[in-house]
Structure formats: C-alpha cells, structure tokens
C-alpha cells in the first residue's frame, strides 16, 4: 500500500465539478444577483432588490494503491475518489426601486410574516421571564425567626 495520492481522470472531473460549484457560489457576490431584472411598464422602470445569503462547503479526496497480500506475484491495484459538500442560498426581497421620468424612489418591502414571528418570539420570551420571576418568588421558603 502506498501513501502517495494522485488525481485520476474521475478525480479531475470531480474537482472540476466542485470548481464550477465554487464559481457559481462566488457569483452570488455579483450586483446582478441583488438587483433583479428590471420590469418596464410604459415610462416607469421597476427594479426589484433582494438580499442574498449564500453559504457552502465541500471536500474532495482521491487515492490509489497496490496490494500484494492476496497474490504476492501479481499485486492488485486500486483507486478511489470521494467527496461531499453542502450549501444553502437564502434570498429575501428588500425593496423595489421605481424609476420614472419624474424621479426615482425606493419602496421598502415589509415581510409581515417574519415580523409577526419575531414579535411573537419576543413576547413569548418576556411572558416566560415574567412567569419565571413570579413563580420563583412564590417558591422561596419563608425564614422564621
């Protein structure tokens, strides 16, 4: 068995695939990802904007070796490649740019569902805190002199 690692043609293809994925990942930093395709409506141009959060990671490895354990006269050869990765892209609308010959304005996009969820979480936290404080006081033993 040798410790030498080399890249096989399959390995090169795998690496190329990962390289392409990495390039696509880096494309998330482009301006065109955030500012969507403009929509023309008569004299008005509407440009949707969104924030993009993209995270990814991957790893790939390959190796080959020979083994003379079964047949010392004719050692067997083998090679293999393995890899894995994962990632996620999150996109959320932020605002809409409305441009007309009269002027340009930025209209914010408000995500009511997200706000409601955050509000309920904050409220739950506060109610939980109140409950904990009041029950904690009741549970305290009285000191008798």
């Amino acid at each position: 068995m040798t410790d030498e690692m080399n890249t096989t043609p399959t390995g090169e293809a795998g690496l190329e695939l990962f390289q392409n994925t990495m390039e696509e990942f880096l494309a998330a930093a482009d301006v065109r990802v955030v500012y969507g395709e403009p929509i023309q409506h008569e004299d008005t141009l509407i440009i949707p904007t969104a924030e993009v959060l993209c995270g990814m990671g991957f790893g790939v490895g390959s190796g080959s070796g020979t083994s003379a354990e079964q047949n010392p006269e004719k050692p067997s050869q083998g090679s293999g490649i393995g890899g894995g990765g994962g990632g996620r892209v999150l996109s959320r609308p932020v605002a809409v740019v409305v441009a007309s010959p009269e002027g340009v304005r930025v209209e914010p996009v408000v995500d009511i569902t997200k706000i409601a969820l955050a509000g309920l979480t904050a409220l739950g936290f506060m109610v939980g805190m109140m409950f904990r404080m009041s029950s904690g006081r009741r549970a305290l033993p009285e000191i008798e002199e």
């Binding site: 930093a29 482009d30 955030v34 500012y35 959060l53 990671g57 002027g103 955050a118 805190m129």
Partner: protein
C-alpha cells in the same frame, strides 16, 4: 483565522428618461484559507441617481423588515431587563 472581507460593488447604469440609475451593493465574504468553504452576504446598499445636468443623488435602500426585527429584539431584551428589575425591587 477566517478572512472577513467587505466590498462595495457598482452595477451597470440604466437610463430612464433623463435619469441615470446605478445600483450599489454591499458584499460581505467570509472564507477560511485552505478550506473549500465560505459565506457570502450580498445586500442592496443604495441607488445612485444622476440627472442630465450632472447632479448626483444617493437613495439608500433600507431593509425595513430587518430594522423592525432588530428593534423588536432590542425591545424584548430591554423588557426582560425591566421585568427583572421590577420584580427584584418588590
């Protein structure tokens, strides 16, 4: 140590009537050297509007949803601290 990099990017300008619009984004990149992993956070920053007479105006793109959520979080923490203080003084 991961490298944290921020960058302001300018997009292609578009002509609408006499106005020239240039989109601007803010990019945050986090990458650990030697590892095939990273994070990119790309968000709109502003829109630069240039009129035919050469006047330039920057319109910020505000993320109202995030502002409200952070406000709620701050309110929740402050509320929790106040509840704690009120119960302690009783």
């Amino acid at each position: 140590m991961p490298t944290i990099e921020t960058e302001t990017k300018y997009g292609e300008s578009r002509q609408v009537g006499d106005l020239e619009i240039t989109p601007v984004t803010r990019v945050l990149k986090i990458h650990k050297p030697g590892y095939h992993a990273g994070l990119i956070w790309n968000r709109p920053k502003a829109v630069i509007v240039k009129t035919s007479d050469g006047k330039e105006r920057t319109l910020p793109v505000t993320d109202v949803t995030r502002l409200i959520i952070w406000g709620m979080l701050a309110g929740g923490i402050l509320g929790a601290i106040m509840i704690r203080l009120i119960y302690r003084h009783r």
